[in-house]
Assembly symmetry: C2
Homo-oligomer: 232 residues x 2
């Protein structure tokens, strides 16, 4: 079976967490908007299509199912592609970790858009500098420290004692911070998290994906944006 | 079986979404911190307890399971208490809707804390005014319009054609906005959402809960805060 992924073209954004799963799994999928253009998503967002009503991209079509919200999509894909352990308690924990990553991603976005998503960065730069200072000094250490501890409790290599979609998302978090906040990231003492990210990058399917044209480069239209003035 | 809910005392906050589920279901539960104090949560947050590591309250203990993240908790409780439809597609949609409520709640919080959760409101009031203007003019209409359409597509009474935990959370969203942003809420044309909120409030277990001392009043330490200057 083939999936259809719907997400904005030209950036990694939230769609990237889904792509990393599909690529790691070697699943057949079409990145629909990259072929047909962003307008292809409009009928879904307007409620003119069957199935669940998405609030925003990304959403995934799997047969007749329409699934939106990144963590919801990964929770759907995980068991189908051996990307989450079997036990109920571990699946609940995997989802909890993913939802914490979701929270972090909102905070990453709001470093450059603390006032309004609809305004340009340049129109909220003062607020962005203030928010980013707190993000660097308080939020990055808190979140990365949390994930570091989760990996430690999972035996030192994986938060869930085996590879899962959570690892793929943590890789993306580390890659995004490396691009957007290189100075702040360099100060973090998170050896297990760095090791996990390195191992994910070396997985054959992920390594092939990262080297392909399908991996759009980080840029300042995505969630992770490099504005030197925000990195202290 | 009895559940143990862990959440900060003195405010509704994110814990309230879980309480509404437990109360509507008539489930036996202990609101642990209200009896033993907030410090009872520290060993969990420090990783000194068995089970999943929570990033933050609320978390629920169910037997040996520790479950954090509101939407994750509701997804766990839903099937156990007839608070979500049977079909996989509806369960996925229910969770998607709940995750969209989660996103909205972050935005509600950030109206009064657009710079840093660790700073006082008074130290970010200018930014809060700016963010709240966009929230009132752009975000409230967008989110409520989305939920209104979801209810309409669900047959006009429920987003999922039958009562679910999503309805309970939508009630809480409407109650919170009524407290925090009464002027902005009055401008919204969302008759189906208002009707849903009214019906939830009249459910016997919910009506009894709202009239009880267990329902802490909205106040300016919670997520929904009434600061007149932010309501335009």
């Amino acid at each position: 079976m083939s999936y259809q992924l719907y997400y904005w073209t030209g950036l990694q954004g939230r769609g990237e967490f889904v792509r990393l799963c599909l690529e790691d799994a070697g699943a057949a999928y079409t990145d629909v908007a990259r072929i047909e253009g962003d307008d292809v998503m409009t009928p879904f967002l307007n409620g003119e299509q069957e199935g669940a009503l998405p609030f925003a991209p990304p959403f995934l079509k799997s047969g007749r199912l329409v699934i939106a919200q990144v963590a919801n999509i990964l929770q759907y894909l995980g068991p189908r592609h051996n990307l989450v352990p079997e036990s109920e308690s571990k699946r609940i924990y995997a989802h909890q970790l993913e939802l914490t990553i979701t929270d972090f991603i909102v905070e990453v976005h709001d470093t450059h858009h603390p006032v309004a998503g609809g305004l340009y960065y340049e129109d909220q730069r003062d607020e962005a500098k203030r928010r980013s200072k707190d993000f660097r000094e308080s939020r990055i250490p808190k979140y990365l420290g949390y994930f570091e501890k989760a990996i430690e409790r999972g035996g030192g290599r994986f938060p869930l004692r085996e590879h899962s979609y959570v690892d793929l998302s943590l890789f993306q978090v580390m890659a995004g911070l490396e691009y957007a906040f290189p100075k702040a990231l360099a100060k973090q003492k998170v050896p297990l998290l760095r090791d996990l990210a390195r191992r994910v990058a070396e997985r054959p399917n992920i390594a092939a994906y990262l080297a392909s044209e399908r991996r759009v480069a980080f840029n300042t239209t995505g969630i992770f944006r490099h504005y030197p003035e925000l990195d202290g």
